[in-house]
Point group: C2
Chain length 273, copies 2
């Protein structure tokens, strides 16, 4: 049974409230029921949420934890004062000290994503997603000159989700290119990558884990066999080492961690987001 | 010239520090130079960062703003006490009150993503990305029964990035299917969608904006012409209305906002992340 109900209440999408709240809750081993309430931007909507929070406190016999990112003062004050809950107010706690530090007032804009659809950054991010999709799994060698990074590695080592994450979260044009048995037999990188070797970054993975992932796709195949996975991984690592391509292992890493490491390696301060 | 340098310092990937810090800084019209310092998990690394922060304060004549997500107490105390900066400590401010509320100690785990690669949630998220990729742009009608949502709408209205975002961020299996002139002539949804009508969610867009986006791809084409965009959008909206498919306009919305609205509509509490 979950220990406590946690609400994420925002007058925007609630993504910031939830991301931050989860990073805090990850510090605890207890499990919680999560309830998201985005777009709470009027007194009426806030009263509905307050009723829901207070009802939960009664039913569960424990007051909920409520993470709020509210820039609307009316909504914020209502929720902070009328909820039977531990209310964690991110904006008041952090925005006000920064106002004092900078000597300026905050805009009290609603949410980090307001008007973003019109911005150049957002446009670049959508373009990066399109680029990464068009250059997934070596589908196209066109315009590789435009890539910010080209991920290389054996099939199913995590290149695709990492490329899409880099594009979506950071606006990075991330192509990815598989290293396949043909390359190992020729003992050379795919020829279309040669002009862009310095943009390549390698992913590798433990053979056990790779075999497990490939078996979910093609059970019992040679492709998924442990011995074959070992062979491909050894060859790929040997090739990357010889060509001076940096790499990391995806075995125990999330795509977020992999992406951060790649970005530190290729260009620490060129992140858009 | 940027008003101030902002550091994001973490012993994990720094994604939480940056997401949260940006949501705070979005409240201000001033521009800042951003510096990311992830994986700061030893006293030695923290001393390098402290030197960098204090050096920046001297050079710029203004103390930096430093967002930290540090669970390592040694690193945290060093940075909090030795930096000439406004230090915003997210964990100390919020983790400690929750410890008191729950009556348990936090794990002091490093980062929200630790060990995540082994979790079922992470596995489901990667599966969702694979599903959404395989079902991008009506590529496949196989396994549509497994989809959590099927986005429909005219070409280039935002279906692809939204599907990938839903998969990556929320572990939602999001297929997407274009509505094309053939469908408008037949005056019916694509037949493969008919059994799944209640899972469909529509995206629409202003004709001006669509024409602009399509012209970037295929300049001067009939496909991109304003009159054609108007025709397609009208037909698509008429079709969705008749079939009882909810929709929203992507014109002024980011993919984050679109995704949040879709999730509220289809299943408010089934988000994984």
């Amino acid at each position: 049974m979950p220990n406590r109900t946690v609400f994420f209440v925002s007058d925007g999408t609630g993504i910031t409230a939830e991301t931050f709240g989860n990073s805090i809750l990850a510090q605890f081993s207890s499990r919680h029921r999560h309830v998201r309430r985005p777009f709470i931007d009027t007194a009426e909507k806030s009263d509905q949420v307050i009723a829901e929070i207070n009802g939960t406190a009664v039913v569960e016999g424990k007051r909920p934890i409520v993470f709020i990112t509210l820039v609307n003062d009316t909504v914020r004050d209502r929720i902070a004062s009328r909820c039977n809950a531990l209310v964690m107010d991110m904006f008041r706690t952090f925005v006000e000290p920064i106002e004092a530090e900078l000597g300026i007032k905050s805009n009290h804009r609603v949410g980090r994503f307001s008007d973003v659809a019109k911005s150049q950054e957002y446009h670049d991010r959508i373009e990066a997603i399109n680029f990464s999709l068009a250059h997934d799994d070596g589908q196209s060698s066109r315009n590789l000159a435009e890539a910010d990074v080209i991920l290389v590695g054996v099939s199913r080592c995590g290149k695709t989700p990492t490329s899409l994450y880099l594009a979506m979260q950071h606006g990075i044009k991330a192509a990815n290119y598989p290293l396949i048995p043909d390359d190992f037999e020729r003992d050379a990188l795919p020829s279309s990558l040669l002009p862009y070797k310095r943009k390549c970054f390698g992913l590798t993975i433990d053979a056990d884990r790779l075999s497990q992932i490939r078996n979910e796709r093609r059970p019992g195949s040679k492709y998924a066999a442990l011995a074959n996975c070992r062979y491909e991984i050894n060859e790929a690592e040997r090739l990357m080492k010889r060509e001076g391509i940096h790499w990391l292992s995806s075995t125990h890493k999330s795509i977020e961690e992999i992406a951060t490491t790649i970005l530190s390696d290729i260009r620490p301060d060129r992140l858009i987001y």
